[in-house]
């Protein structure tokens, strides 16, 4: 196990937070993240502290997605992004959650299970739709077998578009949404 930790310790980077180094002049197809993830993370930490006493617990609900959005959420809670360090975590039971992170358009076969999961979340709760499918049905919105997004089934507070949204984009959206929620809830800025 020591072997594994040695490299990161020597490089001074735990949890593999080092970004890829890209040689100058090399063509890059990726778009720039809105802000460095660490900066957004720190801002998120203070929002979470202010609004949720430092701990925001979310339950992920997969509702007919292609797994792409789930994969990005997994990436957010894994090394590099590691959202737990800002006070946000994924919980196993809806009863322990402050809100839901819903992916997928809500396939009709899953609708009842989605409603039952939501009912198990204590109120008030946040409903966050992650990905184009969850926002409005996305690429399959015209299929009879799905809803046109989570809002047809649950009251959605936050929409995060993208197919799938990249982890930094999810971070940015969460940050903006929490700010807006604070205004709505009348929480004064610290």
């Amino acid at each position: 196990m020591w072997d594994l930790l040695q490299g990161p310790l020597q490089r001074g980077v735990l949890a593999g937070r080092a970004a890829l180094s890209i040689p100058t002049g090399m063509a890059v197809a990726a778009s720039e993240p809105p802000l460095p993830p660490e900066v957004m993370g720190e801002a998120l930490r203070s929002e979470v502290r202010r609004l949720f006493r430092g701990s925001l617990q979310l339950r992920q609900l997969s509702a007919g997605s292609c797994n792409g959005c789930e994969s990005e959420l997994q990436a957010l809670f894994a090394p590099f992004h590691d959202l737990q360090r800002y006070g946000i975590d994924i919980v196993a039971s809806p009863r322990h959650a402050d809100g839901l992170l819903v992916t997928g358009p809500v396939s009709r076969q899953l609708e009842e299970a989605v409603r039952m999961t939501d009912e198990a979340v204590p109120r008030p709760r946040l409903v966050i739709a992650v990905g184009d499918c969850a926002c409005d049905g996305g690429f399959c919105r015209d299929s009879f077998a799905v809803h046109r997004g989570v809002a047809e089934v649950l009251p959605v507070d936050v929409r995060i578009p993208g197919c799938p949204p990249r982890p930094p984009e999810i971070l940015e959206a969460l940050l903006m949404a929490l700010g807006r929620l604070a205004v709505r809830a009348g929480v004064a800025r610290a």
Partner: protein, 534 residues
């Protein structure tokens, strides 16, 4: 492949065998593409001929599906596709089932690999395979009104459609037998599926897997769609295998159009495909290590996966490689600087994978859990038509990159590692080996990409024709079958993913294990729900 003198090519041997044994049942035989040989048989004999080809003449069932031809011919048409590897040949049996009596003797009754395929066929088209060993619906949950068959052309969603997900499960009775229902909603960031365990004490007696929760009706959505809309659907059947779905879809179009993809595009397709395989295998290894609570290994594998996805984004503009593969070629150039950079990123990955795997397998708490858990025997793997890493970990040397080469695989050098134990450890170790083969493949290409254009124009497409794309996704064989309508739009599109083939095999590898090992066994297959349900 090479032949001894006097030996026949597998497809010729099979055809001769069919004519000798089934004589009058071979109604017609025709080669429809360089690879595909079609044999028309009466539906009453379909099961027998498929059994003979798969048991005696070296065929492997790839897929079985049906289309609605009632308007044109008063029948449903069933296709059964078999691979005749090592020859790059596909033998397709086509059988008509009359509209007024939509039933035929079940193929699955003789060839268990067709179990789920025929259950789906019955749901989607309302064609009954008589004598099917498990005729329960697959996608249709209870609450679907009678005669709701979405892939019939005249289908429209019934107004009284109830979507309540109640269904019957096979009952196991006896003193001390418990039923444990799990899902469809799972703890964690995972897709939905329902598992029903019958257990005695800690041991699982039987596992029933009920999916269909993420069914989005995608094959129906494709009816009448343009080819570009079809690509959008194909890439979104599955997020983790988005690139391979695009590759298979494009492969189908290229086959029906008779188009050769330019060499440079074929090489870049190999780069893309192997990157996707690496991301998947690293994620799967992470999942296995997480489920045995060796969190440091999980973290290391997830870190490597994240690096690769960031590299995907840097080079191709998408972390899941969507939008890179189009009919006729690819959309993204990879220049020399980028290739060298990719090689340096991958060199680190190689070293780190070696370390994490060595350490994991030296950790008694890891090995104790992996070894002997979730054994899939070679016989069961063969019978149920298991594919991909799971089949290779049970001793089967199957790989479409070699059996039906696409992209540039014919010109590249790679091994097909296997294991024989068929347990979680074998599947874990094999992923490590396959990661090295993927890295070797990419190394062979860096700085040696052939020159030339990235896309071949498709030209006028032959209306009414069909084509099939076969690719080896990270989980195994993936088939896209595409049928063009006279107006050049999509008439029918049928997808069969590796997960669809592997779920029944997974269900067989669980009984005899303890309930708490199920998540681990499940992770060692790491099957997809979305691309199985569609």
């Amino acid at each position: 492949m090479t032949l001894e003198s006097g030996e026949l090519f597998p497809v010729d041997r099979a055809l001769r065998g069919l004519r000798e044994r089934f004589g009058e049942a071979v109604l017609d035989a025709d080669r429809v593409s360089l690879r595909e040989q079609v044999v028309v048989v009466p539906s009453a004999r379909l099961a027998e001929v498929v059994e003979a080809v798969t048991r005696e003449w070296g065929g492997t069932l790839l897929t079985l599906f049906g289309i609605d031809e009632r308007a044109q011919a008063g029948r449903y048409r069933i296709h059964v596709m078999c691979s005749l590897a090592p020859q790059d040949a596909v033998l397709t049996f086509v059988a008509g089932v009359p509209e007024h009596a939509p039933r035929y003797p079940s193929v699955a009754a003789r060839v268990p690999a067709a179990l789920w395929l025929e259950r789906e066929l019955a749901d989607m088209l309302g064609v009954t395979p008589d004598g099917h060993p498990d005729p329960r619906p697959l996608v249709a949950h209870a609450g679907w009104p009678a005669a709701t068959h979405p892939l019939r052309r005249d289908f429209s969603p019934p107004a009284d459609w109830q979507w309540a997900p109640r269904f019957a499960t096979p009952q196991v009775e006896g003193e001390g037998v418990f039923e444990i229902p799990v899902g469809p909603i799972h703890a964690g960031i995972i897709e939905p599926g329902h598992f029903r365990f019958a257990s005695m004490g800690e041991s699982v007696l039987q596992l029933d897997v009920r999916l269909g929760w993420t069914w989005r009706g995608l094959e129906k959505s494709a009816e009448g769609a343009s080819l570009s809309r079809g690509l959008e659907l194909a890439e979104r059947v599955c997020g983790m295998c988005a690139l391979h779905h695009a590759l298979a879809y494009c492969g189908a179009i290229e086959e029906l159009a008779g188009v050769q993809v330019p060499p440079r595009a074929r090489a870049i397709r190999v780069l893309l495909a192997e990157l996707e395989r690496l991301v998947n295998h690293l994620g799967d290894m992470a999942g296995i290590l997480n489920d045995v609570a060796w969190v440091v290994g999980w973290a290391e594998c997830m870190r490597l996966k994240e690096r690769l996805q960031q590299a995907n984004d840097v080079l191709f503009g998408h972390r899941f490689l969507r939008g890179t593969c189009v009919p006729g070629g690819v959309t993204r150039e990879v220049d020399d600087t980028q290739q060298l950079w990719l090689r340096s990123v991958l060199a680190d990955v190689r070293a780190d994978v070696v370390t994490v795997q060595r350490l994991a397998l030296a950790e008694p708490s890891v090995v104790d859990r992996l070894a002997g858990a979730g054994v899939l025997s070679r016989e069961v793997a063969e019978d149920l038509g298991a594919t991909g890493t799971a089949a290779r970990a049970s001793g089967r040397t199957l790989d479409l990159r070699r059996d039906h080469p696409y992209a540039l695989y014919r010109e590249l050098d790679f091994a097909i590692p296997t294991r024989s134990a068929g347990d979680v450890r074998a599947r874990f170790e094999l992923r490590g080996d396959e990661i090295h083969e993927s890295l070797n493949l990419i190394d062979q290409l860096v700085h040696r990409l052939p020159g030339g254009p990235l896309v071949q124009h498709l030209g006028e497409l032959p209306a009414g024709r069909w084509g099939c794309g076969l690719v080896e996704s990270a989980r195994g064989a993936l088939t896209h079958w595409l049928h063009l309508a006279p107006d050049g739009r999509i008439a029918d599109w049928r997808v069969r993913s590796a997960s669809h083939a592997l779920w029944p095999a997974l269900a067989q590898s669980v009984p005899g294990n303890i309930v708490p090992d199920f998540p681990l066994i499940n992770k060692s297959f790491n099957l997809c729900y979305g691309c199985c349900d569609k």
